[in-house]
């Protein structure tokens, strides 16, 4: 039963990982950008939320309403300016610029907020309490809510991509941006929209994370980026549901690792990630191998 509990916890955590990962997946799928600052953006969103709540005393849940759009706009602006410039100069430059952003953001946060961990205290009993299934499975309400939110967001994103005008444009530009230009689409604008969505979703994930755990400036890379990327790789690029699957596999692997040895939780996740990279680099859901 202990193992079942581990699996259940892992599945629920996988929802959060998928929420972190979908923006990374989108940016990579559409623009071929591996945004090394992706995780740090979640932490920034979390700190912004903390700041807003502290300054304006709005109800905690309102922080989502403010932070997510703000980060979305930031994403559009950053994409149209810095990231597009880097893209125009090549893959190497893009990696270096996003890595630079990651370091600047983390150290900036360290300077202004110190290395102390913080969380978003909600004061809601929802956040801190849990319910039991049987004698050995303890499920936190918050974890279930986050998983549900992740599924809803992924559903929404899936619908947006498949049925809306901009969703179509995003997919078209991802396939062939020059052909999209010939069809009258400004791909830089479309990239901006994709980045806005990526930043928005990772902000959502960051604030949710801040409610369930303590965050510190280095969490962006220590916990979020590598896990998000692992979820994308394990699940397979190009499929949002693959990202959910990847997140779940990662979460479960981590929990099983923790059962074996409490300090092996993170390592277990990395080992699964490396195994997938070596044995099936296209991920679990993609049929064709990445060339």
């Amino acid at each position: 039963m202990v193992w079942v509990n581990a699996i259940v916890q892992g599945v629920l955590t996988g929802g959060l990982y998928a929420l972190f990962a979908c923006g990374l997946s989108l940016m990579f799928g559409v623009m071929k950008v591996v945004n090394l600052a992706h995780g740090d953006l979640a932490v920034v969103a979390c700190y912004i939320a903390i700041g807003i709540i502290a300054a304006t005393h709005v109800p905690v849940l309102w922080s989502f309403v403010i932070v997510v759009p703000v980060m979305g706009v930031l994403g559009y602006v950053l994409q149209r300016t810095i990231i597009q410039s880097a893209l125009d100069r090549g893959v190497l430059t893009t990696l270096i610029v996003t890595f630079g952003l990651s370091v600047v953001i983390e150290n900036g946060l360290l300077e202004f907020f110190t290395a102390n961990t913080r969380g978003i205290g909600t004061g809601l009993s929802l956040v801190t309490s849990s319910f039991s299934l049987g004698s050995q499975i303890q499920i936190a309400y918050l974890a279930v809510v986050i998983f549900a939110v992740a599924v809803v967001v992924l559903l929404g994103l899936q619908y947006f991509l498949s049925a809306s005008k901009y969703g179509r444009l995003i997919r078209a530009v991802a396939d062939d941006k020059e052909a999209a230009q010939l069809a009258g689409a400004d791909y830089r604008h479309v990239f901006g929209i994709a980045a806005a969505i990526a930043f928005g979703t990772v902000a959502l994930a960051g604030v949710a994370y801040g409610m369930s755990a303590q965050v510190d400036p280095t969490a962006g890379t220590d916990t979020i980026l590598l896990f998000a990327f692992a979820a994308v790789v394990i699940g397979g690029l190009g499929s949002l549901w693959g990202t959910l699957l990847g997140g779940v596999v990662l979460g479960v692997a981590q929990q099983i690792g923790a059962q074996i040895n409490i300090s092996d939780e993170i390592l277990a996740g990395y080992l699964v990630f490396l195994a997938v990279l070596v044995l099936r680099p296209q991920g679990l859901t993609t049929r064709r191998a990445q060339s």
């Binding site: 090549g90 270096i96 890595f99 150290n107 300077e111 092996d264 490396l274 680099p281």
Partner: protein
């Protein structure tokens, strides 16, 4: 007439391909003098100065290795801290078994070079972004594995044994010379490698990988060699780090901050040039010393400058100098001279294509 037509219109007898050899003799002499002068520093300066220089040596070695990886082989690794850590731990392990840390240094370097082989096997098929993150994951995983060993101090690390018998000034002098030696060997090795076949192959890959493969260049082997050399170099730097810190702590030696420092220094100085890391390291040390009391600021400034340089001055500070003066301290290129009188009139220089393949 287009360039292609022009060059094919002339007979091949009118071509000469020469090494850009003009200043090698001067550079060689200059380098020897610089090294000798540097070696005398412990006799001239207090250990405060030499300690800063040891830091500079570490960063310079790391930057040169990162430059080799990213600027020449096109491999952006965000996980070189794995080798820094491994180098430090190699020294620690050997010291725990009685070896002098200084004697352990070359062993650590070789050990890291060997360790690079299985790691390359794991990541070699990955492209750019995937490769970068995979190296990062590897570094984190290696750190987690090492932290499992209580004999190595687990999460808190251990002090480095074997140096207690030395007086402080002697220790600092030996550390300094070790750092100097590692840097000289690293730079010399890089220069010789790039001047030879490997340099040609790497530039060919940088320009057009498919063409390079089809003309027989062993692309995979070239990249493997670079990865191994970079691993050994970073390992050697890690060994010097362990000696200079007198302790080995996992979070310190495996910190991604090392990659940040070596990457930024290289980019600011000039990616894809051998002179670049030297300038970049100088900038780095300057910033670090100036902003020392402001904690993380030097990294913030360094990062911002690196971003600006990467976007607007792609060949870094050295690139700016080079563009004006056409100076090469470490010449590894070739000149294509069209006909005898063209020497004076028109020089078609082999185009140094960008270090950032689109």
């Amino acid at each position: 007439m287009s360039l292609a037509m022009e060059t094919t219109a002339r007979s091949s007898g009118q071509f000469r391909v020469t090494r850009s050899r003009r200043n090698v003799a001067w550079t060689g002499a200059g380098a020897v003098i610089v090294v000798v002068v540097l070696a005398l520093f412990p006799f001239i300066f207090y250990s405060g100065t030499t300690t800063i220089l040891v830091q500079a040596f570490i960063v310079l070695t790391l930057s040169s290795m990162w430059n080799l990886l990213a600027g020449y082989a096109g491999l952006v690794s965000v996980g070189q801290q794995a080798f820094v850590g491994l180098g430090a731990y190699f020294v620690l392990i050997l010291a725990l078994h009685g070896t002098s840390p200084f004697a352990a240094l070359p062993v650590a370097a070789i050990g890291c070079g060997v360790a690079a082989l299985p790691l390359w096997w794991l990541v070699s098929r990955l492209r750019s972004g995937y490769f970068a993150i995979a190296t990062w994951v590897l570094a984190s995983a290696i750190m987690l594995v090492i932290e499992r060993f209580s004999s190595l101090g687990s999460g808190t690390g251990l002090p480095l044994p074997g140096l207690a018998g030395l007086s402080p000034s002697l220790l600092s002098a030996y550390t300094y010379w070790a750092g100097l030696a590692v840097t000289v060997v690293a730079l010399a090795a890089m220069y010789l490698l790039l001047r030879g076949r490997l340099g040609l192959v790497l530039t060919a890959i940088r320009d057009d990988e498919v063409a390079a493969r089809s003309s027989g260049a062993r692309v995979g082997l070239a990249r493997l060699l670079v990865f191994v050399v970079a691993g050994a170099g970073c390992g050697a730097a890690g060994a010097v780090l362990a000696i200079s810190q007198l302790q080995v702590q996992p979070t310190a030696v495996f910190s991604v901050q090392w990659t940040a420092e070596m990457a930024f220094a290289t980019i600011i100085g000039g990616l894809g040039t051998i002179e670049g890391p030297i300038i970049g390291t100088a900038v780095f040390i300057l910033l670090q010393q100036t902003l020392a009391s402001y904690n993380a600021w030097y990294l913030i400034v360094l990062g911002l400058v690196a971003i600006v340089v990467a976007l607007f001055a792609r060949r870094g500070l050295w690139g700016l100098v080079d563009a004006r003066l056409h100076v090469r301290l470490f010449p590894v290129g070739y000149w294509l001279r069209l006909g005898e009188d063209a020497d004076r009139a028109r020089r078609t220089r082999r185009r140094r294509t960008s270090a950032f393949p689109a």
